[in-house]
């Protein structure tokens, strides 16, 4: 979010009375703490002394799981972070009626009246610009801002494309002094790059006919977290908690999940750190007996693979692959690799 420009009627050189500030709203983070026993406390005491309050993330309370690292108090996002396809980009926009500081001991500048402040936002994606509705919904007439006042809005946008995105925010308002008034407007542009987080590779192979003479295939998928960071995963890079990997099949097909993880008791959590991958396997079979005919297009379509995950702090992400399938002309050698 670097580049920003001002658009407005060129004749007006006077600085704007309204400023725009933004903060990307990723999930707030749990604050870490490193509890310490108080210095110079008698080492012969019978029980360990309570931790030094200054070493806790908030004033001592029954809810603090000291000496645990994580504590329930939350901190706002410290930085923009990375933006990934499949996640929701959320951002707060604040239009502020800034009071200009007096110039070098001069008389305080006359404060203007600011009326009808409106914020509009648009996301320019690599393919097309999209207008984003703002939350909370306010009146369309605009809001009057007293000096020091702020109009806050929140935008949410589902990121679906890789590449350069630009958040275009336009602020318009009516500025009035005791003698005159005029409508003013400016725009700010915030650029960021949206990257792919999960790479999915799939492969299908024929399994021969089932008991009912139905055709069967094995669908394997390899899901890799390409979310930056070092190889060791020591703090660097994105960590992905896989919430769901499911196959949405076409009509007339049923699938069997051969994996040991996912929801439910005794199943294991799948956590992918940067650079790590996970393999999943499904058996896909037709519901009825095979009539011996091949598909005319030479391709049997199974459906799509749906992947749902959570990022650190719980931010949701989801992806669907393209339509997966297999070439059926030579089923035994079937194999299609598709990359999302």
């Amino acid at each position: 979010m670097s580049h920003q420009r001002h658009f407005s009627d060129a004749a007006v050189k006077e600085p704007h009375s309204v400023s725009l500030k933004v903060l990307r709203l990723t999930r707030p983070s749990l604050v870490s703490q490193y509890p310490l026993s108080p210095p110079l406390s008698s080492s012969s005491s019978i029980t360990p002394p309570p931790p030094l309050p200054a070493s806790l993330s908030y004033s001592p309370s029954s809810t603090n799981p000291t000496p645990f690292l994580l504590s329930p108090i939350l901190a706002l996002p410290p930085s923009f972070g990375s933006a990934y396809v499949g996640t929701t980009f959320s951002c707060t926009l604040c239009a502020n009626h800034d009071i200009p500081p007096p110039i070098d001991g001069g008389p305080p500048l006359s404060v203007k009246t600011i009326r009808d402040v409106k914020i509009e936002a648009e996301m320019k994606t690599p393919s097309s610009p999209t207008l984003i509705p703002l939350l909370p919904p306010g009146n369309d007439e605009g809001t009057d801002l007293s000096p020091g006042g702020t109009l806050q809005k929140i935008v949410s946008f589902d990121l679906r494309e890789e590449g350069a995105h630009t958040l275009v925010v336009q602020v318009s308002y009516y500025e009035a002094t005791s003698t005159s008034g005029r409508a003013r407007m400016f725009r700010k542009l915030y650029q960021f790059v949206c990257k792919g987080l999960l790479v999915v590779r799939t492969k299908t192979s024929a399994l021969g006919l089932g008991k009912q003479g139905n055709r069967r295939w094995v669908l394997e998928a390899q899901i890799e977290n390409s979310g930056g960071g070092g190889e060791t995963g020591d703090g660097g890079g994105e960590v992905v908690f896989m919430e769901e990997i499911g196959l949405e099949l076409e009509k007339g097909l049923r699938g069997r999940d051969l994996n040991f993880w996912g929801r439910g008791r005794g199943r294991e959590k799948v956590v992918l750190r940067a650079g790590e991958g996970e393999e999943v396997v499904f058996v896909v079979e037709e519901e009825g007996e095979w009539d011996g005919k091949e598909e005319e297009e030479g391709r049997r379509v199974f459906g799509v693979l749906q992947i749902g995950w959570r990022g650190e702090g719980g931010g949701r992400g989801s992806l669907a692959t393209g339509r997966l399938g297999t070439r059926v002309l030579r089923p035994r050698e079937g194999g299609a690799v598709s990359k999302v």
Binding site: R27, L30, L40, P48, Y58, P72, A75, T150, G235
Partner: protein, 482 residues
């Protein structure tokens, strides 16, 4: 590389990588490793290590050229020249060998013949050298604090500094005492390990409190390997050994050394080593029916277990931390549930976090459970519902800092930042000043105006005018994003 290796002309040589040598060694204790009160500090087998001869002022040393302190303070103090585990056969009996190995005969490492050797105190003067300690810059302190009349005079006694939360001043004062500079009390005797370690702990604990953990991590390398027999002492009557370094410092040392060497896995191992010792002591206490000692060691053992989980989280292995917690029997009053829930929240597994506190019931009952459920709503992006939960918690118990801060954060996410800001400002007015509170409030200031700096400076003045408590009075520029 190894300029501390003077054993030229000897029949055997050791190849010691300096880096390896200063790392905390994993413990491989055997029966021969027991501390030998007769023995001089093992370092004496290596004349080049920087443990100076005891009270060199009063002893005539014939060392031709006393080893100058290494220019690299990180590599010097090796009170523990015991070797890598693979050399155990030699390492097991390094002490009797030392005179023979010594290339500088006549160095008064051993007490004069006839003196009662077992009582010769250990010499910790290598921990009193000024070059170990870094100067602390006041430049990262906002002027409101730097120029405050609340700044303590230099002669303020250390306990008072700590009591009033002057942690930077305390860190400086501790070093002035250790090194015998400044107007602070007399430098401790090199054998007075109790006082030396108390001061060192004060120094390093305070550094971690003033955002200077990295400095502490460098300085703590001076201790070398705390597992060394050098740091053990044997009670001549009972024959039991005990560690000369207080427990708190040993625990802090684990984290600091791991940071200093950039290897957190080390910390997990070192905590396990401490835990092994705690188990032994716990067993002894149970054998002797010493209830208070048993309680003490049990609590220490639990504390270590929880710290291991935290280190795993820092290493990015949240799942591993969860597995580890499962094996712990810790705490009461829902502490374990809170820890597990926070872990899963960090990971993003919100269902599992809810599962920690719901146990099939509809809603959380205890305060901790309600807190977890509110956090879960936020992780799900259900901020409106979370606001309602935080409000309810706030009404139940007024003045809970965590609940109020979280409510304020949540308000920002639903577009009601002004309310959140007012809430946080009210907390500052009521005398709160935790790092998280200040960070969140200054972040809101940055959103509220193009000219946030003046708001931040005003906030720093307000906090500087607060009463000094052991919550920590002085803040850094980073606290106000200045």
């Amino acid at each position: 590389m190894d300029r501390t290796q003077p054993e030229d002309g000897k029949g055997h040589k050791r190849t010691r990588s300096a880096v390896k040598a200063t790392r905390p060694r994993s413990s491989t204790k055997g029966p021969l490793d027991a501390a030998d009160p007769l023995a001089p500090p093992p370092a004496t087998s290596q004349p080049s290590t920087t443990i100076p001869p005891p009270s060199s002022s009063s002893t005539t040393t014939t060392t031709p050229a006393p080893t100058p302190p290494s220019p690299n303070p990180q590599l010097i103090p090796q009170p523990t020249p015991r070797m890598h585990p693979s050399h155990t056969p030699r390492a097991a009996s390094p002490l009797p060998r030392s005179p023979a190995l010594s290339p500088t005969p006549g160095t008064p490492r051993r007490p004069p013949p006839g003196s009662t050797a077992p009582l010769r105190p250990k010499d910790f003067s290598f921990l009193l050298r000024p070059e170990i300690f870094h100067p602390l810059t006041p430049l990262n302190i906002p002027p409101a604090f730097r120029n405050s009349t609340k700044q303590p005079p230099p002669e303020t006694p250390l306990p008072e500094l700590l009591e009033k939360g002057h942690f930077r001043a305390a860190a400086i004062s501790a070093v002035q005492t250790l090194t015998g500079t400044g107007r602070t009390p007399q430098q401790p005797d090199p054998s007075d390990h109790v006082r030396i370690f108390d001061l060192l702990y004060t120094r390093w604990a305070c550094l971690t409190l003033i955002n200077s953990t990295d400095l502490a991590a460098q300085e703590v390398k001076a201790l070398g390997d705390l597992n060394s027999a050098f740091y053990l002492s044997e009670d001549p009557t009972s024959g039991k050994t005990h560690h000369l370094v207080p427990w708190g410092l040993r625990v802090l040392n684990v984290r600091l050394q791991a940071i200093g060497f950039g290897d957190l896995r080390r910390a997990v191992m070192s905590y396990y080593e401490l835990a092994r010792e705690a188990r032994v002591k716990l067993g002894e206490a149970m054998g002797e029916h010493d209830n208070s000692s048993r309680e003490l060691w049990r609590e220490r053992l639990e504390d270590l277990g929880v710290r291991v989980a935290g280190t795993l989280v820092e290493m990015g292995d949240v799942k591993g931390a969860g597995e580890h917690l499962r094996g712990l029997k810790v705490g009461d009053g829902g502490k374990m549930e809170m820890m597990r829930a926070l872990l899963w929240l960090r990971l993003g597994d919100v269902d599992a976090a809810r599962g920690c506190v719901m146990n099939g019931e509809g809603r959380g009952v205890t305060r901790g459970e309600k807190v977890v459920l509110a956090l879960c709503d936020m992780a799900d992006g259900e901020y409106e519902e979370a606001v309602a939960k935080w409000r309810e918690l706030e009404e139940e118990e007024e003045g809970d800092e965590m609940v109020m801060v979280n409510l304020a954060v949540c308000l920002l996410y639903v577009g009601r930042m002004q309310e959140g800001r007012a809430l946080l400002e009210g907390m500052v007015d009521a005398g709160r000043s935790s790092h998280t509170l200040l960070f969140n409030l200054t972040t809101m200031y940055e959103l509220c105006t193009e000219r946030a700096r003046s708001l931040k400076v005003r906030l720093s003045e307000k906090v500087a005018a607060m009463e000094e408590t052991n919550d920590g009075w002085e803040k850094t520029n980073a606290d106000f994003k200045l």
